[in-house]
C-alpha cells in the first residue's frame, strides 16, 4: 500500500437550490449572448478531450456527433447527457495525431452550418417551385 494516496476524484457539488427555471434557459435571449457555454472537462489533452455544453441536448449533441465522425482525422466521437435533470451535454472527441480536438470541434460546427445553408436553399427553391405549380 502506498503511504500517500492522491485523491483524483472530484467531489460532486450539489445543484444550486430552488432551480425554478431549469430547462427554460435554453432560449437564445434568455441567456446572455456572452455566456461561456462550453467547458473542457478535466483530463484533456490536445488529441483527446471531453467538452461540456451547457443548455444543450440531443438536438445538437447527435447532429454534431455525426458531423465530427465524418472527419477522417477523428478516432472517436460520442456524446452523452450525464443526468436528465441537468441541462448539460457532454461530447467526447479523440483524434489521431496531427490535429487537435479544438480544430475538429470547430470544423464540426462549420460543417453543420454549411449543411444548414444548403438545406435552406434547396428547401426554399423547391417550395417556391411547388407553390408556383399549385397556382398554375
Amino acid at each position: 500500500m502506498p503511504t500517500v494516496v492522491t485523491n483524483e476524484d472530484h467531489p460532486m457539488e450539489n445543484a444550486p437550490e430552488a432551480e425554478a427555471n431549469v430547462g427554460t434557459n435554453v432560449e437564445d435571449d434568455y441567456i446572455d449572448l456572452n455566456d461561456q457555454r462550453i467547458r473542457v472537462l478535466p483530463g484533456a489533452s490536445e488529441t483527446a478531450a471531453s467538452f461540456e455544453f451547457e443548455s444543450e441536448d440531443h438536438t445538437l449533441g447527435n447532429a454534431l456527433r455525426y458531423m465530427i465522425m465524418k472527419n477522417p482525422q477523428v478516432e472517436l466521437c460520442g456524446y452523452s447527457i450525464p443526468h436528465p435533470s441537468e441541462a448539460k451535454m457532454n461530447i467526447r472527441i479523440q483524434t489521431y495525431e496531427g490535429t487537435t480536438v479544438y480544430d475538429v470541434l470547430e470544423k464540426g460546427f462549420e460543417d453543420l452550418m454549411s449543411l444548414c445553408d444548403i438545406v435552406t436553399d434547396k428547401f426554399t427553391a423547391e417550395r417556391d417551385k411547388f407553390n408556383a405549380k399549385q397556382k398554375a
Partner: protein, 382 residues
C-alpha cells in the same frame, strides 16, 4: 487512396433498412470514414449538395408534407426536435383573475387559456422580445416580482382581456329548454378574448387583421349560467416548447422513412389480389403477365400469360403494417424495408406561423446554435 466504386447492389443494401416480421435489420448509419476499408466517407459539401434533394407533397398553412432526401437521421431529428421544442411562440403565461363565478376553477381555466393557440401580425410577433429572465441568485424576489407582472413592457408582453357575463335572454317562450335560446353568453369561446394594445403595440399589431387573436375563434373555454361572471386579465409572452407545450408551434412535427416493397418472386392470380389487400389502397397494383414475359424460357413467368400479377405502384402510401409477412403464401416472395435517408416530414402548425416557415426557422435555429457555440469555443481556444 482512391475510393473504390461500390456495386449498385451494395449501395442499395446500405440504403435500405430491413423490416422483418419481428425484427429490423441494418439500422445504424455506416457512412463514416474508416468504416469500409478503402472507401472515402469524409464530409464533403459538394457531395452533400449533389445528393441532397427536397420534394414537396403538400403546402397548406397548417399542414406541410415534404421529403428531405440524402440526410442522416441525426440531422433530420435535430430539425424535428427544434420544430417541437425550440421555436419561440406567443402564448398566455399569466392570468389575473378579477372575478370568476363560473364552475370552472381559476387554475383549470388558466391552464385552458394557456393552451389556446394565438396568432398575430408576423412582423409584430418577430418584433416582440422575451421577458427578461430572472437571474438565478435572486430568484426569491424575482418570483414575487414576476407574479405581480413586473418587468413587463409593451415590447415583451401582450395583454388580453376576457370579460363576460351570462344573462337570461329576453322574450323566451314558455317551456323553452334550449340553452342557446334561454341564455346570452352561456358559452365562452376563444373569440371573446380581447386584445388590449399597450404602448407601441397598436403600430406593430394593426387593426383589424394584425391584432393578437386566437387562431381558432370557436374553442370553448367555459360554460356559464345566468348571473355567472368571468373577468380576467391575461399576459401573453414569448416562450419555447421545451419550457411548456403551449409554446410549441407544431402539433405535431413528425417524420417517417419512405417504405420500400421488393417483390422478389412473382405473386400471381388470387394470391396477387390477397397481396394487394394486405396494403393500403394504391400501394400494390395488378397487371396482366405479358406475352413477352411468358415467352422467356425457364423464367418464373413461363406460360403464365394473361394471369394477374402483383406490382408495386406507390410505396409512399404504405404504412409498413407488415400484414403481408403474416401469410405463408408470400413467404420468401416479398421484402419490406425503408429508405434510410428519405425523410417524409409532416409539419402541422398550430397556426401562429405557416408550416413551411417553421421548418426554415428550425434550420436557422440549428445554425444559430452553431454560431453561438463556435464563439464560445473560440474563447477557450484563446
Amino acid at each position: 487512396m482512391a475510393p473504390e466504386p461500390i456495386s449498385p447492389e451494395e449501395a442499395r443494401r446500405r440504403k435500405i433498412v430491413g423490416v422483418n416480421a419481428e425484427t429490423v435489420t441494418n439500422v445504424t448509419s455506416t457512412d463514416f470514414p474508416g468504416h469500409y476499408p478503402g472507401e472515402d466517407h469524409t464530409w464533403s459539401l459538394e457531395k452533400f449538395t449533389e445528393n441532397f434533394s427536397v420534394q414537396y407533397h403538400k403546402n397548406a398553412p397548417h399542414d406541410a408534407v415534404f421529403s428531405l432526401i440524402g440526410l442522416d437521421a441525426s440531422i433530420a431529428n435535430a430539425f424535428r426536435r427544434i420544430l417541437i421544442a425550440e421555436i419561440p411562440t406567443l402564448a398566455i403565461e399569466q392570468v389575473f383573475v378579477h372575478n370568476n363565478t363560473s364552475i370552472v376553477h381559476d387554475e383549470v381555466l388558466a391552464a385552458r387559456l394557456g393552451l389556446v393557440p394565438l396568432t398575430a401580425n408576423r412582423s409584430g410577433l418577430n418584433w416582440l422580445k422575451y421577458r427578461r429572465r430572472i437571474p438565478n441568485d435572486d430568484i426569491g424576489d424575482a418570483r414575487e416580482e414576476e407574479q405581480k407582472g413586473e418587468g413587463a413592457t409593451d415590447t415583451n408582453t401582450v395583454v388580453l382581456k376576457l370579460q363576460i357575463e351570462c344573462k337570461w335572454a329576453e322574450g323566451i317562450k314558455e317551456g323553452e329548454t334550449d340553452p342557446n335560446k334561454l341564455y346570452v353568453n352561456s358559452n365562452v369561446y376563444a373569440k371573446h378574448l380581447v386584445f388590449e394594445p399597450q404602448g407601441s403595440q397598436s403600430k406593430h399589431f394593426p387593426e383589424p387583421d394584425g391584432i393578437v387573436r386566437p387562431v381558432n375563434p370557436d374553442i370553448l373555454l367555459a360554460k356559464l349560467r345566468p348571473g355567472q361572471v368571468i373577468d380576467l386579465e391575461m399576459f401573453a409572452v414569448k416562450g419555447i416548447g421545451a419550457d411548456h407545450a403551449k409554446f410549441s408551434p407544431v402539433a405535431p412535427a413528425t417524420y417517417r422513412l419512405l417504405p420500400t416493397i421488393d417483390i422478389v418472386s412473382p405473386i400471381l392470380g388470387n394470391d396477387a389480389k390477397k397481396f394487394a389487400r394486405c396494403f393500403p389502397k394504391g400501394v400494390i397494383g395488378l397487371e396482366y403477365v405479358t406475352e413477352e414475359e411468358s415467352d422467356v424460357m425457364g423464367g418464373e413467368l413461363e406460360g403464365k400469360a394473361g394471369e394477374e400479377k402483383a406490382v408495386v405502384r406507390n410505396t409512399f402510401k404504405d404504412t409498413v403494417s407488415r400484414e403481408c409477412l403474416r401469410h405463408d403464401e408470400f413467404k420468401g416472395k416479398v421484402k419490406l424495408g425503408r429508405v434510410r435517408d428519405h425523410f417524409i416530414f409532416s409539419v402541422e402548425s398550430t397556426g401562429q406561423f405557416e408550416s413551411d416557415r417553421l421548418f426554415l426557422e428550425s434550420v436557422a435555429i440549428l445554425k444559430m446554435k452553431c454560431v453561438r457555440l463556435k464563439r464560445s469555443l473560440a474563447n477557450i481556444m484563446k
